[in-house]
Amino acid sequence: MPKCTINGKEIEVKDGSTVIEAMHDQGIHVAHYCWHPGLSVAGVCRLCMVDIEGMPRVQIACNTTVTEGMKINNTSQKVKDAVKWGLDFHLINHPLDCPICDQAGECGLQDQYMEFGKYDPEMAEKKVKKHKVMDLGPTVVLDSERCILCSRCVRFTKEVSQSNELGIFNRGDHSEISTFDGQKLDNNYSLNTVDICPVGALTSKDFRFRQRAWYLKEGNSICNGCSTGCNIKTYFNKEGFFRVKPVYNKEVNGHWMCDDGRDLYKFVNRDHRYLKASHRQESGWSQILPGAAAKEVSTHVKAGGEELALVLTGQYTTEEYEKIIGIFTKDLKTKNIFHWVNNKESFEAFDNLLIRGDKNPNTKGLLQVFEKNQISKTWADLETSLKAGAIKTVVVAGPENLKFYKDLDAKVQLFSQAKKVIWLQTAKHPALEKLPINSWIIPMKSFVEKEGSFVNYKGLSQKMNKVTTIVSEALTLAEAAELMAGHQISIKPDTHILTDADRPLDQVMSEHRKKNEFVFKRGTV
């Protein structure tokens, strides 16, 4: 554990750590572009300059290992000049097309110019022209002019995804990032290159031009795409969710997440959601408020007894499972609780990085609660009792993320053998329209709208906080369980709501106004 002095403060650092790591751990901000804690050291941006006592020239912090008694300083004029000029070199051929660049607002060049630069540019020559709007693959667009050639993306495809699609071609100031001949940047982790790009050179096709970065709020959550449970940051505003980025967690996902996980914000948005509960009667579907629907079904549920069954998928939080299983076993006196597993055969699949075969975020959590409550019924039991007509009422906590539940039609048919089906569901699916007479669809809150915890594949329980509310009437599984059991609950009104119904009546309700909602209410998101 060598000791060193950084900006006059003596600290102890881990063996073999570099100066930039030591400064990073101390919370000292060092200008840098090419260094990334999850990648190898390239040392090409030449910005992380530090003054080390005894060395005549400034050194890069990313490739200098801390040695005993080293005296490091990054506040001297020499360092400041070096960083200032380093930035100037980065910017002389940068097109400065911030107005049409998606990265504007979260761009490394903008940030570091404001922090370390603030000089008057002296470049009066023509800039180098390179390719713009290059299609790299199904997910990423490249703008070579904006690129500062930090080589983070190249190192990512080489070291992390190990797919080696990207390289730097040509020499000198004509160098460009590109894919090798005939290859596309097409791997399961390609969008990480967009995250690590410190400038707007790599942009995500999905997010491209949809929002400016400064219109988005951030909220941390846990990805519900698979049992890895990557830590994520969601970006949203009043129009809904726009993108997802990974958050560093050494225990779970490191710095990265997969491209599939980034798509999951989509089903959370209003367009894909059940906003009202539906009840199918002889006359067809009718809509009611979710809370009222849950109360309505409580008579059937309470009367169920041994004829009542509960089907759970691994996509809800542990707290919700505890609540609903508690209520069903204690208050409703049924042990007919089943685990709906979608693709058991590929549960163990793993791509050696992040993606796991179990596409439910909380299978482990569900099984733990099952064990605690001594529930041991198998899926075969459910099928036989449904066939025999022993089960008359089924409550189904349907999957939130439908992407990997391909057999929903078959399952709807299976549950239709019961007389009453109460389907708790977040995202819309056409198969649910085929539910029999006397069934209800009750909208549920999605994973970003509630607090709780997910237990990932290795038994690590991760707590997540509520990000925002999108469908305020929707219920959590716990609330639905209480209401179905006939309990009285009070749901606190939420200040973050996205519904038209909550708007004061005197406002103009024209189509234009509805579209303008985002701008009008921007300040209050």
Binding site: V41, A42, G43, V44, C45, R46, L47, M49, R57, V58, N63, T65, D81, A82, W85, G86, D88, F89, H90, I92, N93, E122, M123, A124, E125, K126, V128, I148, L149, G167, I168, N170, R171, G172, D173, H174, S175
Partner: protein, 429 residues
């Protein structure tokens, strides 16, 4: 006066063949060297004071001593990627005496414990590659290369590798990258090549002249070699004389030879009626010397460093008073912006920027503040990158602008050359 330690028999056309080489005592040194202890050879080279002839002038024996002492496989690379503008000594050495280099490499390989060597030859020297390959074939047939050399149990294999013409591949880590089959870009140091080089194994990279000089050192002994030159700059060295001079060519002289004599005695002086204006003493990367400085300079590492320039690869470019320094600098800045590998930002962007500024002055669009800007940009490129190319690009700019500022100012004000009287467009049409 020339001292022909290495180039003694260069005039003999047979010297490039094995028979001819052996006739003049070739491969005799190898036979004695293989009976010595490797450490003895290293000590001898250390004692001779031989310094790297490629440009940096690092003591060769010390460099060999950096290798780890364990039995890990290691490589000996010969840097024959002679790309420095003005330099042409290695080419002549390989053309005239390939066996000298091969002998030097076998001895050096034995000394550092390497069983495999490569000669990385500049891509444009394709005829040299043919000569080297022929010579290596002869050496294999004669048992000087391969397994169990001359029955001593020493193994050494040698191969020629052709570069593709990139200047940067003359930098040792870029050369290693290129040899590994990657893009020829310098690698971050540390780790140094002596610890982790070619294929991540300890590697020694030496210039052609350095490796060849091992032969006379072991033949005559370190003391005899040290007789030439000064205490710190010992031995003889090839100098490639070019530019506005009557007799350009390669000359082998002892170090600390006066630059004045080099130009006027060996080089035959300038053309009639011309006056010396400047001398670039060590290849295009070395800061330029004014005529007054050239008068007193001696060709050794210390004197050159004292004058703020360097001996470099020993390429002396003589500039007389008919040359426009702005025009000259434009050639250099274009060269470096074309040859920058593009890895480090200050060099990638800085070389291009310098080139654009100098060209805008040439094209009559220059502003007076551009001259100061040149200095500022060059100052901030220096010492900020992985390899020395950024310095190599910045140093000529700094020395040209500071030493010949009046020419630059005249060009900016008048839009034409002070020396030639014509503008760039007029000169080139």
């Amino acid at each position: 006066m020339e001292i022909k330690l290495l180039s003694e028999h260069y005039s003999n056309p047979k010297f490039c063949e094995l028979a001819g080489y052996e006739a003049f005592g070739g491969y005799k040194v190898l036979k004695t060297a293989l009976t010595m202890q490797p450490q003895q050879i290293i000590d001898e080279v250390k004692a001779s004071g031989l310094r790297g002839r490629g440009g940096a002038g690092f003591p060769t024996g010390v460099k060999w001593g950096f290798l780890p002492k364990n039995g890990e496989p290691r490589y000996l690379l010969c840097n024959a990627d002679e790309g420095e503008p003005g330099t042409c000594k290695d080419r002549v050495m390989m053309e005239k005496a390939p066996h000298q280099l091969i002998e030097g490499m076998i001895i050096s390989g034995f000394a550092v414990g390497s069983k495999k060597g490569y000669i990385y030859v500049r891509g444009e020297y394709f005829h040299v590659i043919a000569i080297l390959e022929q010579a290596i074939l002869e050496a294999y047939k004669a048992g000087f290369l391969g397994k169990n050399i001359l029955g001593t149990g020493v193994d050494f294999d040698l191969d020629v590798y052709s570069g593709a013409g990139a200047y940067i591949c003359g930098e040792e880590t870029a050369l290693i990258s290129s040899l590994e089959g990657k893009k020829g870009q310098p690698k971050l140091k540390p780790p140094f090549p002596a610890v982790q080089g070619y294929l991540r194994k300890p590697t020694i990279v030496n210039n052609v002249e350095t490796l060849a000089a091992v032969v006379p050192i072991l033949r005559d002994g370190a003391a005899a070699y040290k007789k030439y030159g000064t205490e710190k700059s010992a031995g003889t060295k090839f100098f490639s004389l070019s530019g506005n001079i009557v007799k350009p060519g390669n000359y082998e002289v002892p170090l600390a030879y006066p630059l004045k004599d080099m130009i006027y005695k060996l080089g035959g002086g300038l053309r009639p009626g011309r006056k010396l204006k400047a001398v670039i003493p060590g290849g295009s990367s070395a800061p330029v010397l004014t005529a007054a400085e050239a008068e007193v300079a001696t060709l050794d590492y210390e004197c050159m460093a004292g004058m703020g320039t360097m001996l470099g690869s020993g390429a002396i470019i003589v500039i007389d008073d008919s040359q426009c320094m702005v025009d000259m600098l434009a050639v250099l800045t274009h060269f470096y912006s074309h040859e920058s590998c593009g890895q480090c930002t200050p060099c990638r962007e800085g070389t291009g920027w310098l080139n654009k500024i100098v060209h805008s002055i040439l094209e009559g669009r220059g502003r007076l503040q551009d001259i100061d800007l040149l200095v500022k940009v060059a100052d901030n490129m220096k010492g900020r990158t992985i390899c020395a190319l950024s310095d190599a690009a910045a140093l000529p700019v700094l020395s040209f602008v500071t030493k010949f500022r009046d020419e630059f100012e005249f060009y900016v004000r008048e839009g034409r050359s002070k020396v030639k009287g014509a503008s760039h467009a007029q000169m080139h049409h």
